[in-house]
Structure formats: structure tokens, C-alpha cells
Symmetry: none
Subunit: 137 residues, 4 copies
DNA sequence: GTGGTCTAGACCACT
DNA sequence: GTGGTCTAGACCACG
């Protein structure tokens, strides 16, 4: 379910957050669902438990998760609206990115077709292996 | 001409690179043009010369500019094609970003209108105050 | 394993790059191997960490190694092919150098014998104490 | 007669030295010949007089030139033997370079053929447009 | 004046 | 612990 690129510039904990958020937004993980424990996750992904902990803590802080000491971590009830709201801020990033592409001579039609393709993807398949922007974290 | 956000998560030298690349792509800086010297730039932006040096040096490696010790830094002849090619790789980022927006429930029409607006911007005015994403994540 | 000539005209960071590349090409360092940390290396060679950083960073850019923040630096999987390709460009240098020697009256037989000796060296021993030109001019 | 690459990493004054030495070794300039004045040279090559001066001074220092105040610069009587002796030191460079090529997998036959080709060149034509190693100064 | 290298020492994010 | 960024200040070679 999770795929981590250890060589990526993007911090591992961010990759985990990114993927968890996607799974929630695409309804693969629902409010109330329990997440794998830090320990289990760390073994499964061969990653330092601290790193998992950091991802979970961050999501907890954002109100996406609810970690209950002694019981585990659960998807928060209002995870989806919170995430949706946050993601909307990606619009700023989009503006910048398109601006750059335009400067680089990518035609408007091409850009729009990419947008449409992305929307097609989400309709066909709720989730796929895509693992977020390989940005220089 | 240059504006640095000292609080940004994006390294200062990357901000400088970003802006220089934009100025080149938007024809404000042309091949053969001499850049402000490392020292002048460092004074102008109140930034350590080493940081400017790093930015210039990186652009030199990429073939965007040509540093000649004792003479100065000059925009390389083939700066534009190199940049255009590199920027095209932003298409992957775009796909990811749109995918995220779609998941977050941003309507396709809204997204496309943003794209179109960005293309309007570039047509009307060669450059504007936009200075890249102030955040890295 | 590393020897730095502090008096050389060749920058220290280039000397480090040179030697690392040799060790990789002569199979003393293999893909996946972890390099000494920046700090350890700086202590070992009595050199400022920033200088080591610069060497590692340059090799990272070239795709020879892969720096992972928080984890370390590792020899890249395709380090050898990249290096071999780059080194082949030394052929131009060779042409120039032999041309100079010829002009200076060094006999063809002498030059060829030097070439053959160098090839002997590499066959007998994978590595030896040779550590590159200590002078830049 | 002189061709300077202003963008080269190799300092201009070194390019001039390099070429003058070649012309002497290939008998195009002979002992006693007068060199163009610093002023004339600087105009001809569109180069700062100080730079020409530096090249001439260095050659004077090496005993290749003999600059006579008020009269001009002349090729020294023992320029050729001095140069030949110096160039022999390039043998060390050759050893290094061949060693690198060998490590990079360039076959011995290939390397030797390059050497032979270079010797052919010198027999056919005394000089050509070659302007020395484009080494990183 | 120019770019380039180096040191010393600090701080940050990540594992 | 790791790599990465930044500052302050020095020195060098080149024009």
C-alpha cells in the first residue's frame, strides 16, 4: 500500500504523509479506520520508527489523524474536509507551475490536455501507484 | 529586480536561480548580457557573497551562464533552449499537482480557468512581480 | 586511502573528486558502498567540512554518488558507466599532450613505451599509490 | 597567428604562452625573431595589455624571451632547448592521463593509435590551429 | 575590479 | 548521527 523512495530528495516522512492523504481523499482510507502501528509500519517499510512517528505526529497535529495512546492511530472524522481545504492551497502552486511552463514555451493546449488527462485518471481509478511530487524536499 | 524571501524554506540560492531563469525565459535577460557581479548582487540583496556565488556557479554548470574569472558572468548563448528543455520536465509536477487538486474536489473547470489565466498573464506582460513558490513542501 | 596536497594549484575538492573517481573506476569503491561522512572525511584529511561537502555535492550532481540527507552518501549504481563515458573525453587531452611531447622532441617509441607501462600498471595491481597530477598547469 | 578563446577556463595569458611556445618549438618563430609589441598584441587580440605583459614577463622569466627595454621582445637564443626540457616534464602528465584512460576502459590499441596519429600530424604539418589543452586553468 | 577556493563556525531538517 | 545551507571573512589568480 505504501511505496517509499529512499533515494528521493523528498523526506521519507513527507512521502508517507503524502500517500496517506491521498488514500484518505480517494476514500481508500475512511474516517475511523485504524492505521498500522508505528512499529508495524517501520518494519513493513524498513524505515526508522522515528520517521514513521514524525509522519503520524504531523498528521495528528493537522487534525487528520487521532492518535489514542495505548490503542492506536485512527483517521479523524473530519479528515476529508480538512484535507480538501489544505489541498486547495495547491492552487497557488499550480499558478506558478503553469506560469513557468508558459514561459518555457509549452503551448496552452498541451497544458490543458494534461489537466484533462489527470481528471480522467481520477475518474477511472480511485488510486494508483503515483507517489506525489518528486520535488526537492 | 530580485526579491528574496529570507524566511522561505526554499534555499536563497535556489530563489536566485529561479528568478534568473525566469528573467531569461521572459527575455528580460538576453544571451551575452552581463550579470551583476557576485559582490554587487550580495550587497543589493543583503546576502552573503558565497550564496550568490553558489547560485551563479550552479547556473554555470547547467550551461545557463558562463562565469569568466576576472571578467564577470554572462548569459550563455544557448541559455533559452537549455531552460526550455529543463522546464518541460515540470510537466510531471503538473500532472501530480492536478491529480491532487482533483482528489481534493477542485472542479476541472476551475483548474482549467487557472491555467488559462496564467497564460493570459504571460501574454499581456513579459514579467510581473511573481517570484515563485515561497514554500517548498 | 586519500592523500591531499595542500600546496597544489589543483583545488582540494577537485583532488578529492579525482581520487574518489579513481577508486570507483578501479573497483575499490563499488556501487552501493557508503562513503565516509562529510565530517569524518574532514577530520581524516584535516580539511574543512565545507570543502568535502563541495566535492561530494559535485559528484552527486554528476550522478556518481547519491547524497541522502540524514543517511549518508552512497556510490550510485551507474557510477562506472558515467565515469567511463566522461573519462573518454580525456582523449582530447591526450592528443594535445602527445602533440606537445612530439614538438619537444620526445621520440615516438619513448611515448608509446610510457603508454604501455601505464597499461601494465593497471593490469598487475587494481590500485596503487598514484594520486593524480599534483600540479595544475 | 594567435587565437584566443576568451570563454575558456584556461587563463588568457597561459593561452598566449602555450601558443608562443608551440610556434617556437615548431620553428615558426626562431631565436632572434622580434615579437609583436605588447600594445600591438593587445590591440590585435582585443585583450588587456596587462594580460599580454604578464605572458611576456613569464616567458622572459623562463628564459624563452629576452625583453629589451625600448627595443622590444626577442626570442632567446636557447629558447628551444629550454622548452624541450620543460616539455619533457609533460611525461608525468602523460602517465597520469593514460592511467586514467586505462581505468576508464579505453583499450591500449586505441590509445596507442592516438599517439601515433599525433606523431603523424607533426610530420605532415609543422603547425596547425590547435591551441593547447582546454584544461581547467 | 572580477570569479573561485577555503576556513571557521553556526543552524536546520532528517534518520 | 547524517547531509545541506548560510554567514563572515580571508586569500588567490586574472584582467
Amino acid at each position: 500500500m505504501f511505496s517509499i523512495d529512499i533515494m528521493s530528495r523528498q523526506p521519507i516522512y513527507e512521502q508517507i504523509i503524502e500517500q496517506l492523504e491521498r488514500y484518505i481523499l480517494s476514500d481508500l482510507l475512511k474516517p475511523g479506520d485504524q492505521l498500522p502501528s508505528v512499529r508495524e509500519m517501520s518494519v513493513r517499510l524498513s524505515i526508522n520508527p522515528n520517521t514513521i512517528q514524525k509522519a503520524y505526529s504531523e498528521l495528528d497535529h493537522r487534525g487528520i489523524l487521532c492518535s489514542v495512546p495505548g490503542r492506536g492511530c485512527f483517521i479523524s472524522e473530519n479528515a476529508v474536509p480538512i484535507l480538501s481545504e489544505m489541498r486547495r492551497k495547491d492552487i497557488e502552486k499550480l499558478e506558478d507551475l503553469v506560469y513557468n511552463l508558459a514561459l518555457a514555451g509549452v503551448e496552452k493546449e498541451k497544458t490543458i490536455s494534461i489537466v484533462e488527462k489527470a481528471y480522467e485518471n481520477i475518474r477511472g481509478q480511485s488510486t494508483n501507484g503515483k507517489d506525489g511530487n518528486h520535488d526537492k524536499g
